[in-house]
Amino acid sequence: MRSLPVVVAVALALCAPAAAAPNPADLEAELVCPTCDTTLDQSNAPVAQRMKQIIRQHIAAGWTEAEIKADLVDQFGPGVLAEPPKSGFDLLAWLLPLGLLAAGAVGVGIVAWGWSHRRGTAGEDAAPPLDPELERRLDAELERYEA
């Protein structure tokens, strides 16, 4: 009875699905051919064909996606990745556009606020109170006209 948990654990381990092998088509869309600057799936250049072959060999040998990418970066440099890594200096490539977007949004907000504020002030300035004497004369003229 005490060995039941062990039996269950072993059974679960045996039944657990193995980690999915990387999909070559996905990798080919995420890696760049160094001589033609397009992704591998878009290229028939000799080096791209060789890279596709190597990717399949690595997958057959049980390599993970990260291991395959690391190997190709070691051979061809980080430029082989279609997307820059999200770490170190390359993180700037991700953060900079977001930062610029945020700065643009703030800028547009400030300008919009400035315009609406000016318009509000201008509206108040456009209707200054009438001189009492002028108002009295205007009322008198209106009464005479209506009579």
Binding site: P34, T35, P46, V47, Q49, R50, I54, D74, Q75, F76, G77, G79, G107, I110, V111, W113, G114, W115, H117, R118, T121
Partner: protein, 189 residues
Amino acid sequence: MTGTVQRVGQAVALVGVAALLGLLVWKVAFGSEDGAADDLAAGKVVAAPAFSLERLDEDGALSIADLRGKAVVVNFWASWCVPCRDEAPVLQQTYERYRDDGLVVVGVDVNDFRADARRFMQKFGLTYPVVYDGKGSTIGKWGVRGFPETFFVDRSGRLVGERISGAVDIERNRDAYERGVALALGSDR
């Protein structure tokens, strides 16, 4: 307040436009890397662009500066390049023939797998130094446009002769190759 906001906005916009314009000017003026090959073709005196790269024929690195005083044939190749296979025996013959005269052939293996390059070297019995440039860092500086390409460097480190595009053993390149070797050795024949 609103006037200040407007002025700040205008200043930011102006700075942005000026920065973009500056980038454009810089790119036009300095960004188009012609490489040494174009300068050589224009008749300029060009020093061989520097590199220091991992060796494939033995441990360690090799830099072009290490070869000062020698005549050098620099051959850019890759194992997946078909004409590179045809010319490999010719380069090896050149190395064997002129080695005692102080000539070195240096293979620069570009955009390639190290293991493929080593297999290639073994298959063709290459004994001259071969360096590895998987990232292609030398391409822009040298002005390499395809593979194979071959350059000649004289004993003072200047490029001589002409850049040879394509295999050195084919009809149209044979004379230029022999002339380049002679110029590098300092014995223009």
